[in-house]
Every structure is written in structure tokens, then in C-alpha cells.
Symmetry: C2
Subunit: 187 residues, 2 copies
DNA sequence: ACACGCATGTAATCGGTTACATGATTGA
DNA sequence: TCAATCATGTAACCGATTACATGCGTGT
């Protein structure tokens, strides 16, 4: 149900489904993924519920675009969602479930598993650090004197980076503990 | 698709759907949630695919139980899943998306939002710390000399705790930054 | 002529949630 | 007798993914 609110949130400016997809890719990629095949029907259902209204507009390059904007009731729905407080829920991380059952494979494969995991998250982290650094170069007010519309996205970005770092640290810790265990059984 | 592998992983010992649900609640609750209404049909589909076989057995208390056990091909499917390496994928955290759009509500509501978030995760963390502590009391080998079947679950538990702590720290940081900003605009 | 980016959609399927239906056994 | 726990399932629905279908406009 949350994609609905994400779209409402991004519709501060009128936009087409295609636009929204691109904004998702740019600013929320590590936060909320969505495919066009999910976005288009959802936008049309939201218009039905009168959270949005649309009109067609010619494009300067390409076929005509359907531009959506929020209605007042759409704006209200967004505010209600935020007023309702944090929407917690179960996380499901396949790779963490895999760790749970890792004793089913050999020792070398287990070490490999953690090394792959760590390098995957290191790559993600570097990418995000690059974006963050670029933001800092662009804007002398970065980060604490940013306008609010840029400040809160930056906070989310920061948490994602912190979580990746936590996972990387944990992988290192796991590898170390596993090696220590290996040595002590060898004795 | 991962619930399938979680069930395969938990079927080291034969078990009924009801058993599996209870094991999930006990050991993986913060890691993988699943409802009986999802488990029962999935088990039956897995038997169709010959990953499992079942037989009915009388229960000492209650109606008869359908006990499942892994087939060799089920065992192999589990191992293949682990050999394939970490199964990463997009996380979708509604509450983090909410932070992104927090400028749509007033300052007081934003502070409230972070306080609610922090106290929610503090509660989760305390719960997990309690479990961890109880494990330590029970077993003198805890944590590093544990048997493997207990050691890896413990590693997953530890990551979840570390992540909760990261979120709690971040909430504190956000609250501080927000207050600093508020002061500097008041000047 | 062809590839690429722009642009909108539908259909099939899968994974997960909520609600409903049924019934046995045990202990207060 | 009544509630709680044990135990298995179905049906309806929602959210997300994958694959498919269509067609405009621009630059090579």
C-alpha cells in the first residue's frame, strides 16, 4: 500500500508515470523500487479514488504524456499517512535467512558467502558515498543548512549508509569468529 | 520464493505445518514472518514438486497431524540455494519512505515521528537482548563454542540487534540535527 | 533503415495478508 | 460448559514481478 503514498509524496509537482519512475530511480533507488507495470495501473486506480487527476499533454520529444497532479484529498491522504506515525512491519531478508541455515554447506562455502555479502554491500556503500559527496560539492549548505525538501531525503540516505556499514562490520566479525572456531576445533 | 527454503531449512527434523509456524515464531520471528494460511498451501505445493513427503500421524493432544520430511531432492534444493550465494534484493521500509516526505507535516509531528520510531526499536532491541541473555545463562559455551546449528542463528540474531541499535542512534542524531536547525532559523 | 529513448499500457503469475470454516482435546 | 490450544485447510484480495504489445520522435 505504501507505493501509493510514495507517489503522492513525489507529486508535489505534476508528473507522468514515466517521470515518477525516473525520480524513483534517482532519489529513492535504495529505498523503494517500483516498476512501470506497477506504477501505471496504480496511478489510474488512484485517479478513480480521486486522490489524483490527470490530463494528456503533448511531449516535445515522444508520444503524448498523461500528467497527474494531487487533489486536495490526495494531499490529505499523504498527511494522514505521516500523522499515523511510523509504519513498522516485518523485514524479510533472504540473505539473512541463508545465514541461519549455513551449516548445511561446507566451511569454505560459508566463508565465501560472507565475503560475497560484504563485497556486495561495500559496493553499494561506495556508490552512496559517491552520491553524498557529490551533493556536498554542489551545495555549500550541505548537509545541515539544506532546505527541508532536501534535508529529509538526506537523512534517509544517511541511515541507509549507516546500515550498510553495520552489515559490513558484522560480516568482518563473523569471518573472524568462524576462523577462531576453526582453529580451536583443529587443536 | 524464500519461505520455501526457510521451510526446507527448518525441516532437519520432520514437522507439521503447525510446528513450523511455531518454530518460526520462536527463532526467526524478527527475521521471517509467515502465516499458517501461507504455510499450509506452500507445503502441499512443495510435496507436489517432490521436495517433501508427508504422512498423517495421530497427535497425543488434538486432531491428527500431517508430518512433512525433506526428500533428497529437497535437501539438494536447500544446498543449491546456499551455494548460489547471498540473495540480495530491494528492501522496502515504509517508515523510511515516510521520513523522506516528513516536510509535509509540522515540526512537532516530525519530532514525534522520530521519538515513536526510536521507542519502537528500543522495545524490539530490549526483547532481543533478553533472549540473547537467556541463551547465555542456559549455555556455558555461549556464544563462540556453540554447536553450529546454534551458532549461525546466533549470528543472525546479533545482526538484527546491531541494526536496531544503528536505527536508534540515527534517530537520536536526527532529533539533534532537527533541533539545531530549529534554533538557527529562530535566530 | 534502424536503434534508442520516450511513453503508456495489459496479462499472467507469484508471494503475502486477512477473513472464514471446521473440528479435536484439555483444563478451569 | 466454556475457553484455550492444537490442528488443517479454503477464498478473496492486494502488492510486486515478468513478459508482452504498441507506437512516437530523434539522431546515426
Amino acid at each position: 500500500m505504501s507505493l501509493q503514498f510514495v507517489l503522492l509524496g513525489m507529486l508535489a509537482e505534476p508528473a507522468s508515470g514515466y517521470d515518477l519512475k525516473q525520480r524513483l530511480e534517482k532519489s529513492l533507488r535504495h529505498l523503494w523500487a517500483a516498476d512501470l507495470a506497477q506504477i501505471y495501473p496504480l496511478l489510474s486506480r488512484m485517479e478513480h479514488k480521486q486522490l489524483l487527476i490527470s490530463h494528456m499533454e503533448a511531449s516535445d520529444r515522444g508520444p503524448p504524456r498523461r500528467l497527474y497532479r494531487r487533489t486536495t484529498s490526495g494531499q490529505q491522504a499523504l498527511i494522514d499517512w505521516l500523522h499515523a506515525g511510523p509504519d513498522l512491519g516485518h523485514e524479510r531478508l533472504s540473505w539473512l535467512a541463508q545465514v541461519f541455515f549455513l551449516p548445511s554447506v561446507g566451511h569454505a562455502e560459508r566463508l565465501d558467502f560472507f565475503r560475497q555479502l560484504r563485497s556486495g554491500f561495500q559496493q553499494h556503500l561506495h556508490e552512496l558515498q559517491g552520491i553524498d559527496h557529490a551533493w556536498g560539492e554542489e551545495d555549500p549548505n550541505y548537509p545541515d543548512q539544506l532546505a527541508e525538501q532536501a534535508f529529509y531525503p538526506r537523512l534517509t540516505q544517511r541511515l541507509v549508509m549507516m546500515k550498510y556499514q553495520t552489515i559490513i562490520d558484522w560480516c568482518g566479525e563473523c569471518l573472524q569468529r568462524m576462523e577462531t572456531r576453526k582453529k580451536s576445533t583443529a587443536k
